[in-house]
Homo-oligomer: 113 residues x 2
């Protein structure tokens, strides 16, 4: 198991975990692009968005729910925020374990990639 995010889930690599439940873990990105930059990942290893079956898509809904809750907790819910899932090489996915970025805390660029 060489997946760095699986190691974070397992507590084998320290990270700044802000939320955990039976499905997901959320922690601060170690290279933040904004004052608030969190990652929400499934506990179970899934490589990428494209690998999710239709039946598994409720997981993405749950990740978005957690993003909303964390936006409130981080005080960025009213001013605004962005959620992003990169998928594959051209999408800019760096770690091959599905993750949703939550960014906010400043005015984000209108450029989406």
């Amino acid at each position: 198991m060489d997946c760095i995010f699986c190691k974070i889930v397992a507590g084998q690599i320290p990270s700044d975990v802000l939320y955990t439940d039976d499905k997901v873990v959320a922690f601060r990105d170690i290279s933040p692009m904004a004052p608030v930059h969190l990652l929400i990942i499934p506990q179970h290893h899934i490589a990428s968005l494209t690998d999710l079956t239709e039946a598994q898509m409720s997981l993405v809904g749950h990740m978005a729910y957690v993003a909303n809750q964390l936006a409130k907790q981080q005080g960025i819910s009213e001013k605004g925020y962005r959620v992003v899932i990169n998928c594959g090489r051209q999408g800019g996915q760096v770690v091959q374990h599905l993750h949703m970025h939550l960014l906010g805390g400043r005015e984000l660029s209108g450029m989406l990639g």
Copy 2:
């Protein structure tokens, strides 16, 4: 009803619709930032991600499912793509009707905002 996306759903404003079902409509962004730049929106007016209740979050999962299907249809599934939901002013949300961006067709910037 002054929402431009509701007017697209209702067929009152022409758009390049690529997909429709009972929950969502997908069409090309009129100001594309990438060779493929689609928007996936709920048929029903919901202003923003932050307005979704936990019970409504399956809608986001369905939007992600449709994004995956459209990525395949558009030939960007293997090379990679990005999905983005902007929420609120600092998040860069321009139209106040929930929408998911699907971007691909070139190497996207690693900058997420």
